[in-house]
Symmetry: C2
Subunit: 418 residues, 2 copies
Amino acid sequence: MYGEIITIGNELTSGRTVDINSWYAAGRLTASGLGVIRVTSVGDDVQMVTRALKRAHTSSRFVIVTGGLGTTEDDMTCKIAAHALNRPLRLDREMLKKIQHYIDAQGIKMTPPLEKMAYMPEGARMLNPTGGTCGFSIEDKEVRFYFLPGVPEQSRYLMDTVVLPELLGLYEALPVMGQRIIKIYGMNEPHIAEKLDQLRGKIGEVVLGFYPRFPENHLTLSLKGEDNAQVTAVLDRVEQEITAILGTCVFSTDGQDMEEVVGRILVQKEMTLSVAESCTGGLIGHRLTNVPGSSQYYQGGVVSYSNRLKTALLGVNEETLKRHGAVSAKTAKEMAQGVRRQTGSHLGLATTGIAGPEGGTREKPVGTVYIGLCRGEEALSTGYRFSGDRQQIKQQSATMALDWIRRYLSGYSFLPGI
Amino acid sequence: MYGEIITIGNELTSGRTVDINSWYAAGRLTASGLGVIRVTSVGDDVQMVTRALKRAHTSSRFVIVTGGLGTTEDDMTCKIAAHALNRPLRLDREMLKKIQHYIDAQGIKMTPPLEKMAYMPEGARMLNPTGGTCGFSIEDKEVRFYFLPGVPEQSRYLMDTVVLPELLGLYEALPVMGQRIIKIYGMNEPHIAEKLDQLRGKIGEVVLGFYPRFPENHLTLSLKGEDNAQVTAVLDRVEQEITAILGTCVFSTDGQDMEEVVGRILVQKEMTLSVAESCTGGLIGHRLTNVPGSSQYYQGGVVSYSNRLKTALLGVNEETLKRHGAVSAKTAKEMAQGVRRQTGSHLGLATTGIAGPEGGTREKPVGTVYIGLCRGEEALSTGYRFSGDRQQIKQQSATMALDWIRRYLSGYSFLPGI
C-alpha cells in the first residue's frame, strides 16, 4: 500500500529549513509497513502546490501534506486544497471555537489571521478535535489526504496519534519489511566496498545500502518477505557475515549510537567515567548525557578550554604545558589522570586539540587532536590528524574519544594515530 | 530562471536519512538568485526515478540530481539517466583512470562495483576531472542536468566549485532577492502573531514567513526587486518596526545564533565566562565553542553531573544539597559562584535540573531547571519548568542560560520563571 508526502513552504525550496517533517513521516510510515513512493517539497505557490496535490491524487492511495496552515499570509494550504479538490472553503465553527479557547487561555484577542485558520475545504474532518494541535483530512475518490501543520512537534504528534493508527486500520495484511543498520567507525567507503565484495552472491534478496554519516559509515540491510521469522533469520545470518568481515570497526548493529554503546558497556562492567574536554568543549559530555540513565556511569568532568583550568582544576603540570604544549600526548594523559583523580571515577578520558580555523602551526596544524585515557595507574594517549571544519573536527574528536572507551573495555586495539 | 532538485535513495523515502543535500543545494541556489520550484525525493526505483527525471525535463531549465552514484547495487542513477534521456551507457576511460588512481593510493584492488562507477550516459561531461569527487552533467534540449554523489560533503563540494559557477555564468541579470531572519526567544507564535497584526498594510511587498525552531521562533522577511539599495532600505525599515514591536525577545536580526550573540557581547564588554553544567551535561560549552574564537571569552568549566562533583570541584555546600536538593535555586547560585571562583572569570553561569525521563517528583517534576548567574559578589538564580523530551529540556535549558547572559549584559530583565 503506497502513499506519498508533500511538504509546503518557501523555507524548504529556498533551503532555509531542513525538511524534517517528511523525514519523520517517511520513517514512521516505512516502519509500519506502508511504502512511500515520493516526497515532494514545493514553495508557497498556488500553481506548484496545486500540481503536486493533483499528481498525488492520481498516483497514491494516501497523501500526507504538511505546512501552510499557520497565520501568516503565505499560509494558504486550505485554500489551495479546496481548489485542487474542487470543494468550496467553509468556516468550521468547531475549529473557530477551539482557536478562541486557545487564545483566551493565552490572554490575547482574536485577529483576522487567527480566524483564517478556521476555514477548511468542504467535507474536511478535523483531526484531534479536543487537543491543541490542528489538522484535517479529506477523502476524495478513494485517496485519503492528511493536512498537518508545518511545525515539526505538531506534525509528529498528529502523525503518531491520528494518521498512523487510521492508516494501519485501513490497510491490512502488509508484507514484512525487515531492516538492520550496521554502524561502522574507522573504515572508509572504498575499504568497506572492497571487503563486502567477498559477499557477492551470498546475500540472497537482501538489499545493501551504504550511508556515510560523518564521521561514521552506516550500512543497511533490507529484506521484504511474507514471514517475520524467516526475514529475521536471513538478516541475522547476513549481519553476522558482515560483522565478521568488517571486524571491530562495527560498533552497533541494532541502531544504537556510539554513546549508547559506550554506556551499555560501562553498565555491564559496572564502571564510571569522567571526561576532561578541551577542543571538544563539552560535546562528549553532551552526547553521553543524551542517553537516559547516563548518570549511572557518567560522573561529569571539566571543560578546560583555557590552560589555566588545565592546571587549576586538573592538576596538569605547568612544566608539561611549557615543554610539550597544551596540544600534546603528555597533556592529554595528565588531563585524563587529573579528571579521574578529581572525580574518583574508574576511567578518565581527555581531549585536547586544535579545532580551527585559527591556531594551527606547521608542526601542529588545525585538526591535530590528542586523546588520553586512564584507568588506575595506567594511562595512554595518542594523537590524530582530523580534517574538515571546526564542527567536523569536534565531532571526530568526540567520536574517536568515545570509541577509545569502547575499544579499551572490549579489549580491541585503538585506531592508529599520527 | 527556475530549476529543481531531485534526490535519489531509499534512505530518503524510508525516513532513514534527513535530506540535507536538497537543503544545501536549495539554499545555495536561492542565495545566488536562482529559483527552485520543486524538490522531489524518490527511492532507488527505476520507474520513479525515470518519472521524476522526465517531469523535470519538461518543467525546469536546470536540474540538480543527487544520489545513486555509489558502489552498491541499489546505486543505478547512471543507468536510469541514460534510459530517461535516451542515451546509451558508455565506459568513460578518464573516469576509470581516476578511480584506479584513487584505489591505488588506498592500497586496494579494482572490483566490479568500483568499475561500475565509470559507466556514464553518452554525452555526459565529467565534473571536476582532476579532483577526487566525481559527478557528471548532461545538456539535453536546453535543460542542463547535474548528477552529483549522495555523500553530503561531496555533493556540497561540487555544488560550490562547479555547479553554481556554471549556472551563474549561463543566466545573467537576475533580480535582487533580499532576505532577513529575525530570531526570537521567549515569545510563542500566537503572541508574535497578535503583535505583528499591528503591521498589517504597513509592510508593502515584504513577505513574512514564520518558522518555529525549537525553542526559538524565526521570522523571515523576503523582498524581490530590481535595485539592491532599494530592497535593502525597505527591509531595514520593516526589520526596525518588527524589532520595536517584539522588544527584547528579538536576539538576532543578521542570522547569528544565540551563542554567537552572547560571544559578541562578551567580546564588546571584554568579559570572560565560565560554566557549571549539570542537566545540560556539556551542551552549553559545546555550543559556545562552536563559535570560532570563543577561547577569547569562554574559559571552560565543570560538568558536575554527580553531586560529589558539585561539592568537590565547585565547592557547593553539602548543607545546601541536603536541605534544598541538587535541583534548587540555592545550588544553582553556589554552582555559578563556584565555577567563577575556580576559573577567575568575570561571569559564572550554572544549570541544574531534571532532564528526564526518570527522576521527577511531584514537587520537582521532569523539566524543572534552575539557572544561576554570578558576577563578583552578585549572584542570581531562578527556576523554570520546561516541557518536552530529554533533548528538548536540555536544549531549552542551554538556550535560556545563554539568554541570561545576553539579557544580563544588555540590561534587560530575565524571562519570568516558576
